[in-house]
């Protein structure tokens, strides 16, 4: 009877093919764990989930000969099928709404629903970017207010709002640095980054035409000031430093680093992805930063959405402010104005140009501003304090079972870093991560930063309760002891997820990146 299970799922079997744990199902479903085929397998070209007038032949055609002849090959589903398809898919995801999501460096904090509501107000959601500014004063006001918050929180005099994510913000910062250097006729060639930097840092520097060189680190996990000073010279355009860094430590010597960099005629880029650790307590402007991007989708809680969108405004020191990209919003006696190519001439001749169409991630701005207004100055200070407290609690609750390379480097900031030292032969960070999945947690960031073997970077954020942390710590201790003991069931974890371990090698070796009809293949 159990033929057409198309999904491929089978219950675990004994050697002689007896099912164990539960019987096979006809559908391949397991109660609420529901398999779902592709839209291409369930939809068809004649089905649609919208009601539109049926095109008739009398319809005018002024397409100038470009009209489409061939079919597109897009399946349609009725609305009920569509809602069900995506609802079923969604249930195969983990999310902050389900539990702790301790991805280090990613700041997976709670996304308040008020922010979603506000972003959907017609005055924001249903507004065209090129509408006359007399009709968009409230939207320009949001950008302006948010810019003021960011400047105040960072203690920096200027901000570029248009970058679309962190990496785009990095690019913005590095381009401003290059523009500033070029403006003084100084064609430096090298950007220095620590090895622990996020991949976007070297990628950005290279994208902007720089050579990337390594900044050495001290054994305690911080930038080696002396080594850096030794390397500084007339070819160095900038250093890119993350602070707090990706080992979760505050760069104690940041001010000294910045002074040395400035003395050498270079500029200081700070990767601000970890701003959550210090927001409201420390102003990067006081540390000598020239440019820093801020991930609104991290510190200021705009949702990650399964990969994006983000928003990466960049704050600038006075030295870089004139080079900031277009557009930006100015407040005048008569209202808000949008400064673009046209008007930039007068005020802002040195702007390095434009990074994107239109004015940036407005949908993220409304959410971030709503978040900031909700917390206020006092709340944001509490945010960073609780974020740091939670991370230290995890660090100190796990350091006896998991190797913590920088446990003696002082308190961590918003994230705690561990390595795989001490695991039984053959046991890896990946195995521990997959075991954590069975425990009902999303794993921490794995194998990053590169400076620690089998790195596990745990960032709980401030929106976790002590009870959630305690359960996570218990689960981590349990899985870690299994890794240390060499429990082989970890190698085949996860056991309870919608999928068993996926073959990533196969995917890369024979890439299948779009669906093709097997009937045609």
């Amino acid at each position: 009877m159990n033929a057409p299970n198309k999904s491929g799922w089978k219950p675990e079997m004994t050697a002689d093919g007896e099912t164990i744990g539960g019987p096979a199902t006809y559908t391949g479903n397991r109660a609420l764990m529901l398999d779902e085929a592709l839209i291409f397998e369930i939809g068809d070209r004649n089905t649609t989930g919208v009601d539109l007038p049926e095109p008739d032949t009398a319809t005018p055609n002024r397409l100038g000969g470009m009209e489409r002849a061939a079919a597109i090959g897009l399946p349609g589903l009725s609305e009920p099928e569509t809602v069900r398809h995506y609802t079923r898919l969604s249930r195969q995801n983990y999310a902050i709404d389900l539990g702790l999501f301790p991805l280090g460096s990613c700041t997976m904090k709670h996304n308040p629903r008020l922010n979603e509501k506000v972003a959907r107000l017609p005055g924001f959601a249903d507004l065209h970017p090129m509408a006359p500014t007399s009709t968009t004063q409230g939207a320009l006001g949001v950008i302006y207010e948010l810019a003021e918050w960011l400047k105040t929180l960072t203690g920096m005099p200027a901000v570029a709002m248009s970058p679309k994510a962190g990496a785009h913000g990095e690019l913005c910062g590095i381009l401003a640095i290059r523009a500033a250097l070029e403006a003084r006729g100084d064609a430096r060639k090298v950007v220095l980054c620590p090895e622990s930097a996020h991949g976007t840092n070297p990628a950005t520097a290279a994208f902007a035409g720089y050579e990337v060189e390594n900044i050495p680190a001290t054994p305690e996990g911080r930038v080696d000031l002396a080594a850096l000073e030794a390397r500084l010279g007339p070819d160095v355009a900038a250093v890119m430093i993350t602070n707090p860094n990706t080992c979760g430590l505050f760069e104690r010597d940041f001010r000294k680093i910045a002074d040395a960099v400035h003395a050498a005629g270079a500029l200081v880029y700070c990767d601000g992805a970890n701003f959550n650790a210090i927001v409201g307590r420390v102003r990067p402007g006081d540390l000598g930063v020239d440019a820093m991007h801020i991930n609104l989708h991290k510190t200021f809680s705009t949702p990650h959405g399964g990969g994006g969108p983000g928003s990466g405004p960049v704050v600038f020191s006075a030295a870089l402010a004139p080079f900031a990209p277009l557009p930006f919003v100015e407040k005048t006696a008569t209202g808000y104005e949008l400064v673009e190519e046209e008007t930039a001439g007068e005020h802002h001749q040195q702007s390095f140009g434009r990074m994107t169409a239109f004015h940036g991630q407005m949908g993220m701005f409304t959410r971030a501003l709503t978040y900031m207004l909700s917390h206020g100055a006092d709340g944001l200070k509490q945010v960073s304090e609780d974020a740091v407290l939670n991370a230290n609690y995890i660090l100190r609750s796990l350091e006896d079972v998991l190797f913590a390379p920088y446990a003696d480097s002082g308190p961590c900031m918003h994230e705690a870093l561990f390595g795989d030292k001490g695991f039984a032969e053959g046991m890896t960070t990946l195995d521990l991560a997959k075991g954590l999945i069975d425990e009902g947690f999303h794993p921490m960031t794995m194998y990053f930063p590169l400076v620690v073997h089998g790195a596990m970077l745990v960032e709980p954020t401030e929106t976790e309760s002590k009870a959630a942390l305690d359960q996570f710590i218990g689960a981590m201790r349990s899985v870690a002891s299994r890794a240390i003991a060499g429990d082989q069931s970890l190698k085949t974890a996860p056991h309870y997820a919608p999928m068993r371990r996926l073959d990533e090698t196969l995917a890369a070796r024979k890439p299948v990146l779009a669906w093709t009809d097997p009937a045609l293949a």
Partner: protein, 453 residues
Amino acid sequence: MRYLPLTDADRSAMLEVIGAPDVDALFVDVPPEAQLDGPIHGLPMHASEMAVERHMAGLAAQNMAASSVPFFLGAGAYKHHIPASVDHIIQRGEFLTAYTPYQPEIAQGTLQMLFEFQTQVARLYGCAVANASMYDGSTACWEAVAMAGRVTRRSRAVLSGALHPHYTNVVKTMAKFTGDTIADAQPAIQPKADNAGLISRIDDQTSCVVVQYPDILGRLPDLQEIADAAHARGALLIVVNTEPVALGAITSPGELGADIVVGEGQSIGVGLQFGGPYLGLFAVRDPKHVRQMPGRLCGETVDAEGKRGFVLTLSTREQHIRREKATSNICTNSGLCALAFSVHMTLLGEKGLRALATENHRLACIAADTLSALPGVRLLNDAFFNEFTLLLDGDARQIVRDLAAENVLAGVSLGRLYPGHPELSRGLLVAVTETTTEDDIHALAAALKGKLQ
């Protein structure tokens, strides 16, 4: 503070476990002179949900929502009806609050959606492979130019004069730093796109030709001709589309020989949102170019039990693996907008997309006829899809501003797009979609008539 679960008792208990006397002790590594002594000055204190909502609603009320007036703006951002179920689905916590699907066993929802999205985009564009999204059309356009440079090992890009000026500016800005040469131009104000002029600028150093389709003036250039000319010189053809709905009515760029097709996906599922977040689409016609593509790619595989599943793949192109050798620095992309696009496209299906395109075109034809019948108004385009250029007897930019005061949003003037070009000042771009009513068209006609007398 409603978003912070720790109680004071929790904090004390945790500090005890940590062995720190107080929270300040956790910040010992921050030099004292860099620490603030209390809540930062110059910002308000925390506020209730109701108070914040009132503040934000007050700002929202100062904007003229597109749906509240006769509305004709386009130029790369279009107002379309988005089915209510799209917004419902993108608000599912499992989609909204998930991260990039790096742990595929508990991210199949996002991954399968991306695989479906990539296939939808590839088919729409007539391409083999599409990626999992870029920031928006303009940054996708620059990434395509950069990719063409990698593929051809040349560094001179020829841009059509009828490419969206913001896109042109982004490309030119980036090229300043990479050392690429950008040959751009102003749009030629004529009924047909200036293919001949464009083709004449292609040379043997040309890495790519970048053409918008439909173009910024709403015209429909014959891409095949440009593709042939580019290919003859060893250059790639990059086609930029800012209105995906058009592709329900016109032949796909891939079918006409485009090598890389990029575009703005905002029209399908995303909404206007004052310019962002939008959805960069990126596809290549020939699978051999896949390894030069920027951005994430989702691919099919199997799990340990042989069950089909999906993972992010070919990551050796990407910054987190390849660092300074990556094809792009992009990390976070437009995932949730891709979901919105994919859901809307699934609702439409081929049938719905075609009907939607037909309806857009039908209403645009009515608008073009109605408006060009007015004294002092001339229709520039020979052909168009849902957007066209009018030439007015007057300064279109001022007229747009004046009509806004009468609660009619008449379109985007060429003066706004190309400030400082008096020869373009009479041009008005008018976009019409399925959301435009005949009443809206008559309201615009009446208002325009009033201004042109």
